[in-house]
């Protein structure tokens, strides 16, 4: 361990004294405060902090990724190129220890820089509402919609149950001979599936749409639940508004009678415009002790039309599940895992290729990671015809590619004040660390086998 540490320290010290690291640091230290003053977003207080956090973290993440790639690709390959390895690997250090030391040195540098700059961003974000005049109303909104970490509840469809249900219906149709002979099973099933889903999200006049959630854990019962919804009407009424009553609470209690009521059931009559996202607040004590929560929407018969909630974004319950600080740390940890991956990637590549090739590969992989969803989709599409060949060759390689986009874009969570769940954090960081380990193992293998001296005659 002492030897690994010696190499890591050496790498860290060299990297800090390299002018590139200083330039990156200076750039960030100048840019971040300027950004905090110039970020305006949509002009509101919340818009300002949102755009600052988004650009600030984006900038730090990008610049540190670049720095990591440069340093990681440089440190080992330059030791080989400038023959400094000669007097290192001939000392009692195993070659894999040397490789670990190199990666660890770069990771230490990342840890330090990320800690400093995320600290700067955090401090500036907290202070930003004080830079400009902010009304009390805006402060409340900031508190509820930005400086918090909200968990989101959405209906998860049990695909297996749905499949069984549609299959039963299909069999029933076949038995009763109601099917058109010319239609394939697939097309009938697809239609039935869609109809079943639609039924879960729609209610005719006097009907109800019900959402049930388990394991809801609000941060504090005195906080609020935020119900965000958007609905459409089968026939849009003249004033484009629909009447309805929302019931929020543990509806299982109703069967037991009023004396068994432990948690309140809130009843909220509302009139809302169709097709727009609306949000209202309910006290969080509606959640039952076992974490059960039901939300029902009663479609007033006077509407005279069917109400439909879009499947994707029609309904969501948000509630405070943690603080901004904790969420911020989670986001930074995912960013750190990303940098660890890039450090291992650079070091692993430079165990067998020189600096220019290593940096080119690293950059390509980094930018592929940024558009990972697109790449995976296109390969999946192109690979359909290759089946076995595809699944044993390209697929594992694509799996090795990092994912920095979509769900893994941590900025989105902070801007929307969405809770980064511990499980997600572990998964995102764990997968990246696993990939890093695989890359390092490849690096160990190559570095242990290769001839470190150049062929000179």
């Amino acid at each position: 361990m002492g030897r690994i540490w010696a190499v890591a320290r050496n790498t860290f010290v060299s990297a800090v004294r390299m002018k590139t690291a200083i330039v990156f640091m200076a750039m960030l230290l100048i840019l971040l405060p300027i950004l905090s003053l110039t970020s305006t977003g949509d002009g509101t207080a919340i818009g300002r902090v949102q755009s600052f956090v988004s650009y600030g973290l984006g900038l730090v993440s990008f610049l540190l990724s670049m720095l990591t790639i440069v340093v990681a690709c440089y440190t080992l390959s330059s030791d080989v190129k400038h023959k400094r390895v000669y007097s290192v690997v001939t000392k009692p250090i195993r070659r894999f220890e040397f490789v670990i030391g190199k990666a660890l040195g770069v990771i230490l540098l990342d840890l330090l820089l990320l800690a400093v700059f995320s600290g700067v961003i955090y401090g500036l974000t907290i202070q930003m509402p004080r830079f400009a005049k902010t009304s009390d109303e805006e402060l409340v909104r900031l508190k509820n919609e930005f400086f918090t970490a909200r968990a989101s509840l959405k209906r998860t469809i049990d695909e297996q149950a749905l499949e069984k249900q549609t299959d039963d219906v299909y069999k029933e149709l076949v038995r009763t001979g109601q099917l058109d002979e010319s239609r394939s099973r697939e097309s009938v099933m697809a239609e039935l599936r869609n109809a079943a889903k639609y039924n879960m999200y729609a209610a005719g006049p006097g009907g109800t749409v019900l959402w049930e959630f388990k394991k809801v854990r609000p941060f504090d019962a005195n906080e609020s639940l935020f119900i965000r919804f958007k609905f459409n009407a089968a026939q849009t009424p003249a004033d484009k508004s629909l009447y309805g009553v929302w019931y929020v609470g543990d509806y299982r209690q109703i069967q037991g009678g009023p004396e068994t009521m432990k948690t309140p059931i809130y009843q909220i009559p509302r009139k809302d415009v169709v097709g727009t996202m609306r949000e209202f607040e309910v006290p969080a004590d509606a959640v039952a002790a076992d974490g059960y929560l039901a939300v029902g929407f009663y479609n007033e018969p006077m509407n005279g039309t069917t109400v439909i909630f879009p499947i994707e974004d029609g309904f969501e319950v948000l509630y405070k599940a943690g603080g901004f600080g904790g969420n911020f740390i989670s986001a930074v940890l995912i960013m750190f895992a990303r940098l660890v991956f890039l450090a291992c990637l650079g070091v692993s590549l430079s165990t067998w290729v020189g600096f220019p090739v290593a940096i080119l590969c690293s950059l390509t992989i980094f930018f592929t990671g940024v558009i990972n969803g697109f790449v995976v989709q296109s390969f999946d599409y192109l690979g359909q015809n290759l089946t076995i060949f595809y699944s044993v060759t390209i697929k594992p390689l694509i799996w090795l590619l990092p994912k920095f986009d979509q769900n893994y874009n941590v900025n989105k969570y902070l801007i929307d004040a969405r809770m980064i769940r511990f499980g997600f954090l572990m998964l995102a960081a764990g997968v990246l660390l696993l990939k890093s380990l695989i890359l390092l193992l490849i690096g160990f293998f190559i570095f242990a086998k290769r001839e470190l001296a150049k062929v000179v005659i």
């Binding site: 002492g2 030897r3 540490w5 010696a6 190499v7 320290r9 050496n10 010290v13 060299s14 004294r17 390299m18 400038h82 023959k83 400094r84 000669y86 007097s87 290192v88 690997v89 001939t90 000392k91 009692p92 250090i93 195993r94 001839e451 470190l452 001296a453 062929v455 000179v456 005659i457």
Partner: protein
């Protein structure tokens, strides 16, 4: 791998290295079927012109290159084994150091690689910096060092673990004469303390002074191998050194020698440039002239210098001097100072500058012109390729 203590510090078995191009074509044989045995506690010189395979051998010994065939044992084991590397000190052909670290940090880094604890590291680093004359520059980044100063740090790092086997690749390249002298003194001192030194060089004068045995390589093969005395002794010549003699006495001696049918030549022995240079610098040092370069320990006499190296080594090296070896090496060092006749310089200047040598009489039979110029050409060539022909010359008389 091999647990019992091998009698050889370095042993190779049919060691072969063939370099191919990317496709494995146009193969170049760098080292072929090399069976080298370096005894423990000897200073062994691996000599040869550029591209003769010396460095390739060293790189294979240290595991930096994989042999195509054969194998090498170092201190009875494979050099990839940390137990073995812990006992080796290696100075590569150039000092490849971390430019952003300062001298002390550099040595500290290498000390850590040997797992030395901080107390041991600190004391050894002080002693080493002192020895290589860089104590005053310990906190300057290596990147700002001149080649020779970097070389000194390179030497210091090779000694930080008190190695049993010291592998030095061109140890004196880039060093000033004083540094060169110190390294040679150091090698001699280390040998006295039971260390093995494998020296790889094409600076023949340096090797000649310190080596017990040497091998001359050419084309990946060992051409000659033996002790310095065996290889260099001129059995058909004798040299007499005296004080200043009158012309009369010289005539007498000449007549005696000629009576015995032998050649006779008188010259005033020149002081070697090395000792002259050291004398000048020593003088300046005594007058305390300022310098930004390495500060050498310049003792008043050679004996003092040896004693100084010995002092530092007492702090660095576990083993103490084995006395019986001392005289042998001293002898080798001394003889070189008065050995002018076969030197390339003399030959090259014979036809021109008569001041250097003073041929006394007709005995200086001129060789036929063609042969002479051929000789000169050959010697220039030897000079250019690193004097590899020396051994052949010796053999041919």
């Amino acid at each position: 791998m091999v647990s019992e203590k091998s009698q050889f510090a370095v042993e190779t078995f049919g060691l072969t290295k063939i370099f191919g191009d990317w496709w494995g074509r146009s193969r170049v044989v760098a080292v072929e079927d090399l069976n080298l045995k370096v005894n423990r506690n000897e200073v062994f010189g691996l000599l040869g012109p550029n591209g003769s395979g010396k460095t390739t051998v060293i790189k294979m010994l240290l595991g930096l290159l994989h042999p195509t065939k054969g194998r090498a044992l170092v201190l009875g084991g494979v050099s990839r084994d940390p137990k073995i590397t812990a006992k080796i000190g290696f100075l590569p052909e150039e000092s490849y150091l971390y430019p952003y670290l300062n001298a002390r940090e550099t040595l500290d880094f290498y000390g850590r690689l040997f797992g030395l604890n901080s107390k041991v590291r600190a004391s050894r680093i002080d002693a080493l910096l002192d020895m290589v004359g860089l104590a005053g520059m310990a906190s300057r980044p290596i990147g700002t060092f001149s080649k020779g100063m970097a070389r000194r740090i390179g030497l210091a790092q090779a000694l930080i673990n008190d190695p049993e086997l010291l592998i030095l690749d061109e140890p004196t390249s880039g060093l000033d004469p004083i540094g060169t002298k110190q390294i040679k003194d150091l090698i001699v001192e280390l040998a006295k303390r039971g260390k093995t030194v494998l020296l790889c060089s094409h600076l023949l004068a340096d090797a000649e002074e310190v080596c017990d045995r040497m091998a001359i390589m050419y084309g990946g093969h060992i051409q000659r191998l033996g002790s310095v005395d065996e290889l260099l002794k001129q059995t058909n010549k004798r040299q007499i050194t005296t004080g200043v003699l009158t012309e009369d006495t010289l005539q007498k001696i000449r007549s005696i020698v000629e009576k015995h049918g032998s050649e006779f030549e008188v010259s005033e022995p020149m002081q070697r440039l090395e000792s002259y240079f050291i004398e000048v610098v020593r003088q300046a040092h005594k007058e305390k002239r300022p310098t930004s370069g390495a500060v050498n320990r310049l003792e008043a006499t050679q004996a003092d210098a040896t004693a100084a190296v010995s002092d530092v080594l007492d702090r660095l090296v576990s083993a103490k001097v084995e006395t019986q070896k001392q005289t042998e090496i001293k002898k080798a060092v001394e003889t070189i100072a008065i050995e002018p006749d076969k030197s390339v310089l003399t030959k090259l200047t014979q036809s021109g500058d008569e001041n250097l040598t003073t041929p006394v009489s007709k005995i200086d039979k001129p060789v036929p012109d063609t042969q002479k110029s051929e000789n000169i050409k050959k010697n220039i060539l030897d000079e250019l390729v690193g004097r590899q022909g020396l051994a052949e010359d010796e053999k041919n008389g």
